[in-house]
């Protein structure tokens, strides 16, 4: 980790009419750091993630991102073209439902290769080689490269979605409940895989989860949300082992009972 943040979030709020989505969120994210956003359903996790990733315009606040040239840019003041370029090169977004992040009617190879083609790769053989390599890294056998994700299990689809996002070597990945729809045994394998990739690639990630076990396994730091507000923020081990807020204590104790 360097001494300059990758992302600076200041006063981000999102209202749906008069209803609060999230309110006055502030934090910084460092390169290579994994931040978990936890809280129960309806607490504003997805709203915040969508604001940070510019999929949603916040009502107030700013998010600055350090570009590869070292300069900070305010995401909400970028042109749409610049933002979309950033999203498909330097960022990844892993949806809870893989169907939302994959093209279900084209092959696994094309799903992984799409970003490469989007940035101008025009050599079929090389694109295929890179796609094969990435399928291997997410533990999908090379002989499935021409199969459509429709034929894949939920866990495979999720791994394919991850490969599709990482192929351009992004520096920041957003994940919304990445293990949400999966069986427990499949979840564990996916979490191990994600943890390995994040470590190997030195990725920064913001992971939304309602599952504190996921936060424990993946994240360095965490944010606890309730009713759209950040009520606790700290190193993951500290928050989980020594929660300060009564609400966090409740959350932690309810998972420990399970």
């Amino acid at each position: 980790m360097t001494d300059t943040p990758l992302l600076k979030v200041s006063g981000v709020s999102k209202f749906y009419g008069s209803r609060i989505g999230c309110k006055d969120v502030n934090f910084e994210l460092w390169p290579g750091e994994v931040l978990a956003i936890v809280g129960e359903s309806g607490s504003g996790k997805t709203t915040l993630l969508n604001c940070l990733s510019t999929r949603l315009m916040p009502t107030a606040g700013s998010v600055e991102y350090r570009m590869r040239d070292g300069n900070f840019r305010d995401l909400y003041h970028m042109s749409e073209a610049e933002r979309r370029f950033l999203m498909r090169t330097d960022w990844g977004f892993v949806h809870q439902n893989p169907a939302d992040g994959l093209r279900m009617t084209v092959s696994a190879g094309a799903n992984v290769g799409e970003r490469l083609m989007a940035v101008g790769d025009r050599h079929y053989g090389k694109i295929r080689e890179t796609a094969t390599d990435w399928l291997g890294r997410v533990e999908i056998s090379a002989d499935r490269i021409d199969d459509q994700p429709r034929a894949f299990s939920g866990g495979m689809r999720q791994r394919l979605q991850i490969a599709r996002n990482l192929v351009t070597g992004p520096r920041l990945v957003f994940m919304d409940e990445p293990t949400g729809g999966l069986d427990v045994s499949v979840q564990a394998r996916l979490l191990d895989l994600v943890r390995g990739l994040v470590n190997d690639l030195g990725l920064a990630a913001i992971v939304v989860t309602h599952d504190l076990a996921v936060a424990r396994l993946l994240s360095h730091r965490m944010i606890v949300m309730k009713d759209g507000h950040v009520i606790e923020h700290g190193l993951t081990d500290r928050v989980l082992d020594d929660p300060r807020e009564p609400y966090t204590q409740l959350l932690v104790s309810s998972i420990l009972q399970v």
Binding site: R84, S107, A118, H123, I127
Partner: protein
Amino acid sequence: MSADLATYNFAYLDEQTKRMIRRAILKAIAIPGYQVPFASREMPMPYGWGTGGVQVTASIIGPDDVLKVIDQGADDTTNAVSIRAFFQKVADVAVTTHTKDATIIQTRHRIPEQKLTEGQVLVYQVPIPEPLRFLEPRETETRKMHALEEYGLMHVKLYEDIAINGRISKTYAYPVKVDGRYVMDPSPTPKFDNPKMHMSDALQLFGAGREKRIYAVPPHTEVVSLDFEDYPFEIQTFEQDCALCGAHGVYLDEVVLDDKGGRMFVCSDTDHCEDRREHGHVGAMLAQDSVKGQEAAE
């Protein structure tokens, strides 16, 4: 029918509609390959019969024009004959089957073999103008992709084709990039004709009636077929020559002769074929026939 049509304006459409369509055409020419929306009108023929092309032709045709209409390269199909008859009736223009004599050529599927020249206009009838439609059904999204020049998806489609078929098997409506900017669907023409669009001396106009879009390739404009470095764009090649006129390197149609598997390949461009035969070129089939004829006479 002629009595009814006689009460219509020259070339069927009223002047205000023509002005609206001409404005769309001018805009299309100014932004090569860009799909300009226009208020497509009801025409006295069903969609799928080239109502987009007919409206474009109706808006640019004048009393001195000479019109040729082709369908799959032929001047004598029902579709071509009825569109030609329509303009004879509503615009009283001269018609021809000879490519070189025409000032406006309305086409479905083919570009004539004879090289088009300056001053000629080729009007394409287009069923589906959006090349990105196949992978992205949302119109709002495809418009954005054009605006931001996000064309990665076109190559995804070609990638998929190679992955499944071992080569780019797409043989018609093969996507092109126009003037280094907009990706365009060249309508259901065979890819054989794509190179003819490139740096053409003629003006090329595309009309999609049901989809309400007009686009254009002005004369002397770059039209490049999309491909991969290791799978370059190639046109169809035919081993045979035309059985009737002996032409080589032209687009051929297969014609079934009998139910015993007999078949021949002939020019899809009927005018080109007739013109060659008039100039004494003879294909294998006609040569055989004339030998047989001589034998019978002896």
